[in-house]
């Protein structure tokens, strides 16, 4: 298994529970887990997504990812309604390891409070958080 090297793209926003958000216009965002999160968890073997239409709340768990050994809650970086889940992960959950910011995305959300994004971290701040943890 080859995992991508540690990286935290500059264009994303980060939650301190190791989740990222990619804003798409003013009202939508894509969520996923960071390189650090997938590396800590190990090989992901199961992604239990929310359902389209579910309401998710910032700082609360909205999904689960599991490795062979452990299960982990996924924390929402922002609030909103799930408009799409990454169905491709049902058969290939390892994409969360291999491509955490691309093919390994988890959900698309219509944001209910877009201004919450101001509370998230930039890539530089998130990297600093990891260095200090």
């Amino acid at each position: 298994m080859t995992l991508a090297d540690a990286h935290y793209p500059d264009e994303l926003l980060y939650h301190d529970q190791h989740d990222w958000a990619r804003l798409d216009g003013d009202e939508h965002a894509v969520f996923g887990i960071t390189w650090y999160a997938q590396d800590s968890l190990g090989e992901v073997v199961f992604y239990d997504p929310p359902e389209v239409g579910d309401t998710i709340d910032k700082d609360q768990s909205y999904a689960e990812v599991e490795s062979v050994k452990a299960v982990s809650d996924v924390i929402a970086p922002l609030s909103g309604e799930v408009v799409e889940v990454n169905d491709g992960l049902a058969d290939a959950p390892e994409q969360i390891n291999g491509d955490p910011y691309g093919e390994g995305w988890l959900v698309k959300v219509k944001l209910s409070h877009p201004n919450e994004a101001e509370q998230l971290l930039g890539a530089g701040e998130y990297r600093k958080l990891l260095e200090n943890s």
Partner: protein, 330 residues
């Protein structure tokens, strides 16, 4: 032993298809020697130790008076009246105290020899030829033990394992263990951690003491009646005989999750929405690519094919009781 070196799935697959090595030096070893060794072991071990020939190996439970399983272990007959027991590390000290207590009145010495051995389990379809060639030794048959020189020191080679694959377990001088480990890796054997050890043994339906076995469970409900010979009069034999005769309220049974979801130790088992048992071991199965586990369930539900639900963190996952082992070669 770390949980993993490179990845649990990769290590698991190496053992199923090639060869992997586990550093299981944490296992305990107890030597039992003396004219009364056989009589003593018949008293404390559940199996019929008299059946073990020189150079033979046998699996047993160590039972309390009420039949509860204190530990499960392999006994190897090294000499006419000399045996080696390999204990689970978490139980080693308690086992020693228990064995010491029951050895009174027998002409036998019980020695803690855990410091004398490092233990490397080399497992997988290619394990035997690689070990034989790399270490230049003859290997014993399955369920046998032989002596050898490994790294220039006396060693024991056991034809046993905990993965459901062929292979050997090497009991070697701790001083030479790092060099032997390195030699095996150089020969292409894949280093494997605790994570793969657990998924491999669970697919093979081998019990893990502390999960599937405990002092609160007897061998009959654990499905280990085959290693209990009550006629030998071992400690706990009466309770085991009674459980065998009268049946038990629950039975340990392997199961597979039918859809998504990975069961974990402690998850409740449900039948028709009602509590029906508890998962004692659960994991993702890399070979079957689905959730698998073992659970104590009501005896009437323990038949292969029975549909159940596992409450995995509040989600009811459809499951079916399977037959042993969960993974079968080919």
């Amino acid at each position: 032993m770390p949980v993993l070196y490179e990845g649990i799935k990769e290590e698991h697959s190496a053992v199923r298809t090639h060869a992997g090595v586990f550093d299981v030096s944490h296992m305990g070893e107890v030597e039992v020697e003396g004219p009364g060794a056989l009589a003593f072991l018949q008293r404390v071990l559940s199996n019929d130790v008299a059946k073990v020939e020189l150079g033979g190996a046998q699996y047993s439970c160590l039972c309390a008076e009420d039949g509860g399983v204190l530990d499960d272990l392999f006994a190897y007959r090294l000499g006419g009246d000399r045996y080696l027991l390999v204990t689970n590390s978490a139980n080693h000290e308690a086992d020693l105290a228990w064995l010491g207590r029951w050895s009174r009145g027998f002409d036998v010495a019980v020695r803690d020899v855990a410091d004398r051995y490092a233990m490397l389990a080399v497992q997988g379809p290619h394990a035997r030829p690689i070990v034989a060639r790399t270490l230049g030794i003859e290997l014993p048959a399955r369920m046998r033990v032989s002596t050898a020189r490994i790294g220039g020191r006396p060693a024991l080679v056991c034809g046993t394992g905990y993965t459901g694959e062929d292979g050997v377990e090497l009991l070697i001088d701790p001083e030479v263990a790092p060099a032997i480990w390195a030699e095996l890796l150089d020969a292409g054997v894949v280093p494997c951690g605790l994570g793969a050890r657990d998924t491999l043994r669970l697919e093979a339906c081998f019990h893990l003491h502390g999960n599937d076995l405990s002092p609160a469970r007897n061998p009959i409900e654990a499905g280990l009646g085959w290693c209990c010979a009550e006629a030998t009069g071992f400690v706990g034999a009466e309770a085991v005989a009674s459980a065998r005769r009268e049946g038990t309220a629950e039975q340990l049974a392997p199961f597979e999750i039918e859809g998504p979801g990975i069961p974990r130790q402690g998850n409740p088992v449900l039948a028709g929405g009602e509590p029906a048992g508890e998962v004692t071991s659960g994991s993702f199965s890399p070979s079957l690519e689905r959730g698998i586990g073992m659970a104590y369930v009501r005896t009437d539900l323990a038949e292969p094919g029975t549909a159940l639900e596992i409450d995995v963190r509040g989600k009811h996952r459809a499951a079916r009781i399977a037959s042993k082992p969960l993974y079968r070669k080919g």
